[in-house]
Amino acid sequence: MHSLGRSSKLISRRLLCSRFSALLEAATHVISNSAGHRSRPYFISVVCGFPKDFQTSNYKPGKYGEDSWFKTSTPNADVLGVADGVGGWRIYGVDPGEFSSFLMKTCERLVHCVDFNPQRPVNLLSFSYCELLEQEKPIIGSSTACVLVLDRENSTVYTANLGDSGFVVVRKGRIFHKSEEQQHCFNTPFQLSLPPPGCHHRVLSDSPHSANTLSFPVLVGDVILLATDGVFDNIPETLLVETLKEVEGVTDPVKLQMAANSLAAIARALSFDKDFMSPFAINARRNNIYTTGGKPDDITVFSLVGQSISEGAVGSCKASSGIKRVLRAFDPHNLLFEQDFQYYGDTKRQSFNYTVYISLANMNHNLDVSFIPCLYYKHRDNAYEAKIMTKT
């Protein structure tokens, strides 16, 4: 792991010199408030990621470089998705992130439409793709996509996966489900695409309906990792499982966030390691391409833990325990930095839905990336002050 240490320093330095307003999105914690006293499943979900190149990409919520992600929930479902824009479009003067970002944003909006069916995530992808065709401003590019929906009615996860993004489900220390990569040939995944006029014949374009679909019942404590190929190409499966089984059944989003952070950091570190025999390199050799080392790419990691709650007193207890959590998360690691908190309360739904964006722009000490604490959520009524300081 010494390579990790080395590269984490590198990352910290990059953090310092880059002008990101934020790097990490903390957990969105959604508690369904629909009526009924039976227990209903939900996901504790956290996301973390890095763009491949900090210099060229601007930070936007929901994006890491060319990767995009969304998560949202309705009373009936938790929905998450990642999309990886194909970088090759840059030479056409097209921002590859725009396509994936639009795809994910549209998915998010579609989830809140009346006729959203949690059991058909493929429809989500295909409707979203159709919306792309309806834009006045032509959006050009292509993207892989993976959407995962938890249907609360029957505690089943429905997924649709197109291309080489994917998910891993870990139950009792073993891989329970894993998505399949869809590739035309090595390093050429299936993709949704909208080519510019005049080069249709040169561009791969797959129908959203060619996405792999999978559904499986989810139990309390299951850990699901939803990530782009930047993770799967760089972290060996065994290492993935080892990290993920640590967080099986956790209820504390902070711990989960730390796991996600460390996965993202590991992936980032390994992707720049020239000597490491990454899964990508192994695959390449299978295809008679001699290479070693990781594959530098944008990285997006979603970690989810299945939980279920019985309706009733949950809302208030979650809200009140917010501050304690934050302090606990800070203390052990003896960090010193200031953070700007911004609260984005979503009052459209009457559920608790907190997203906190943390700015690391003011950070003035190197720190170990794997320990960046990041989850602070709080009901907006008793929102606390925006700055939290901890000392060495």
């Binding site: 944003k105 159709c130 309806e134 834009q135 401003k137 006029p197 005049g198 009052t347 459209k348």
Partner: protein, 643 residues
């Protein structure tokens, strides 16, 4: 005090004469409150504004403690939108909830945009003539008890005031009329006549005072008393109380019979005297003839002249004038006055009773416009409409039933059977909630010259039969027509049977391919064509050239978002369309600048050129071109940063 603000919206809200530009949408504010932490959970919040004026009772019931702001909860109905039905881009439901994009400025699919802008559609060959021209403009609010609509605001100076549209997101907050009634439904009518380009609306916010639901019963009782009938209601409100003596009826009769003429002549004498006073210098002695003439009142006019005078009155005035006297009633109920009927401005008044009254008077009805009637509240029953059509439908030549909600299958059946003289049939946005309307009897119609099926679900086979049966068809609108229709087949049928076609609108009608375009070149009379969002192929090949060579009369050519257009195609447009007046090339990529200049130079009659989202064009190019060529060039400079 209540205010409605449509964020990012255009400040023009007036009903217009022309259907193609008038757009309305009815928005429902359900009892969801966002701005306030409220204590009441389930009960709906009705909006109440403080009152000034006569009805003081209400104020006592209203709690005026705090203001409440509500965003639109749902869209009940709308007459036009830019996006297709299944989509979530540019569609009407985007207006609900909090603003998603305000205060950003640009083009956002998360907003609600409407189909038209400016007066361009009125200048196209397919423009409509208004039936019975009248003008009403309002934003009425629905009062939930009496089920009537009240106008909250209208722009009276719409055509006179100078229009300045800044390039930024705007909040439009008209000063609304104060109303006494709680409301949760408002209807917005937009006039697009003076819009520069598509305007997108993000959200609608209604703010007012919270109405205390506990006092609802009092209010209900109050309005129940009010509802007893319009005459009784008026009498209650009237301050005038006649002094009742014994035989007052006879006195009134006596006055009407004997004294009224004298009264009028006295009045006219006074007028004459004043005129004399003015003319005193010129004419010294008034001749007796003049006084004789002055005694001729409205009553003495010949019937024909009365008819002529009355023909300038709108429907409301006609009904009112009929209440004056028996003679005026006779004149005002003459069938000639009702040969054209436009109920669209009175959509909020249209009811079953009105229809049965009109059925008695309009014995030679030729043109009927019932657009928007009975749209949210079922004031017109399908059976009554059927009866009306059965009585008066046989001579009908023009029928517009845009956005009507009372139509059911049997209504359409009756239409098809009775109205066989129809020349114009307009069924815009007419798909009721059970989507499959049985239109099959429409196949009986043989004389159609204009068929408008904008946003209406129709079966493919029926459409083809109708095209086959109506060889005189001149104007056909199939924009947003159902996805199930294969437009290539339609194009083939048009080419075979409807060669006189002048205008064809296939906006966002999917599945029209280059092949269909090629076939359409058989319609040599085409002057207006709208292929926006059709022709999704990578390349059109030679079909556009073939089409343009054959159809030389083209005045309007819309090729919005036909992404397969190339430099070559634009060369054809420049060389083969000398009469072109309007050209839409929105969202076409990869065209070189020279081609645009070429078009501007060669199409001398060009007035409108839409180049939004086209690349390779700079701002100063556009400014220069529109100056040199005197062409209105649309180009939206949207910031790169779209998300």
């Amino acid at each position: 005090m209540s205010q409605s603000s449509a964020t990012n919206s255009e400040d023009g809200s007036k009903r217009t004469n022309n259907e193609s530009v008038a757009v309305d949408s009815v928005i429902d504010f359900k009892g969801k409150h966002f701005g306030l932490e409220s204590t009441s959970e389930d009960s709906d919040d009705y909006l109440v504004s403080g009152s000034e004026g006569t009805m003081i009772d209400v104020e006592r019931f209203c709690h005026a403690d705090y203001r409440i702001e509500q965003y639109a909860h749902s869209v009940l109905d709308f007459s036009s939108q830019y996006g297709i039905d299944l989509s979530i881009s540019y569609t009407a439901p985007n207006i609900t909830g909090r603003p998603s994009k305000y205060p950003e400025y640009g083009d956002f699919p998360q907003t609600f945009a409407m189909r038209t802008y400016g007066a361009w559609w009125d200048r196209a060959p397919s423009r409509l003539k208004e039936i019975q021209p009248q003008n009403v403009s309002e934003i009425p609010a629905e009062d939930f008890i009496a089920k009537t609509w009240i106008c909250l605001w209208e722009d009276k100076e719409f055509y006179t005031k100078p229009l300045y549209i800044p390039s930024r997101a705007r909040r439009f907050t008209p000063p609304l009329k104060r109303i006494q009634l709680p409301t949760k439904t408002i209807r917005l009518e937009f006039n697009h006549q003076r819009l520069h380009y598509y305007t997108e609306i993000d959200a609608v916010l209604l703010s007012g005072k919270k109405f205390n639901t506990r006092n609802m019963q009092h209010l209900l009782d109050y309005y129940e008393r009010q509802r007893k009938g319009s005459i009784l209601c008026k009498l209650q409100n009237m301050k005038f109380r006649p002094i009742c003596r014994d035989n007052y009826q006879n006195r009134l009769q006596h006055f009407l019979m004997h004294d009224l003429d004298k009264f009028i002549s006295v009045l006219s004498d006074v007028q004459i005297q004043s005129i004399q006073h003015q003319q005193q210098q010129q004419v010294q002695s008034p001749s007796t003839d003049e006084i004789k003439i002055s005694k001729i009142g409205l009553k003495n006019m010949p019937f024909e002249i009365m008819l002529k005078i009355f023909s300038y009155l709108d429907l409301k005035s006609l009904f009112r004038v009929g209440a004056v006297s028996r003679f005026l009633y006779d004149v005002s109920t003459h069938p000639l006055l009702y040969s054209e009927l436009n109920l669209k401005p009175y959509w909020h008044l249209a009811s079953t009773e009105l229809l049965s009254t009109l059925a008695k008077r309009a014995t030679i009805l030729k043109k009927l416009d019932m657009s928007w009637c009975g749209c949210t509240v079922q004031t017109i029953s399908p059976t009554e409409f059927k009866k009306f059509i059965q009585q008066r439908g046989d001579s009908l030549t023009h029928l517009r039933l845009n956005s009507t909600k009372f139509l059911n299958a049997s209504c359409i059946d009756t239409l098809g059977i009775v109205c066989d003289n129809l020349k114009e049939l307009s069924l815009r946005n007419c798909s009721p909630s059970p989507p499959l309307l049985n239109f099959s009897c429409l196949a009986n119609l043989k004389n159609l010259e204009r068929l408008d099926l904008f946003q209406t679900v129709i079966e493919s086979d029926l459409l083809l039969t109708m095209l086959e049966n109506n060889p005189k068809l001149k104007h056909l609108n199939l924009a947003f027509c159902s996805v199930a229709v294969n437009m290539d087949d339609v194009a083939q049928h048009i080419a075979k049977y409807n060669k006189q076609l002048i205008s064809l609108d296939m906006w966002k009608a999917h599945f029209l391919s280059a092949q269909g375009l090629l076939v359409l070149s058989n319609c040599h009379n085409l002057e207006e064509i709208d292929f926006g969002w059709c022709l999704r192929e990578a390349s059109l090949g030679d079909s556009l050239r073939e089409f343009l060579t054959q159809c030389t009369k083209l005045k309007k050519l819309f090729l919005a978002a036909v992404r397969g257009l190339t430099d070559r195609d634009l060369e054809y447009i420049a060389n083969l369309c000398p009469n072109l007046e309007q050209l839409d090339l929105m969202g076409v990529l990869g065209i070189s600048k020279e081609r645009y200049i070429d078009i501007l130079q060669k199409c001398a009659k060009l007035q409108l050129l839409d180049l939004c989202f086209c690349d390779n064009i700079m701002d100063y190019d556009v400014a220069l071109w529109s100056r040199t060529f005197k062409v209105d060039i649309k180009s939206c400079q949207v910031p790169n940063d779209f998300r």
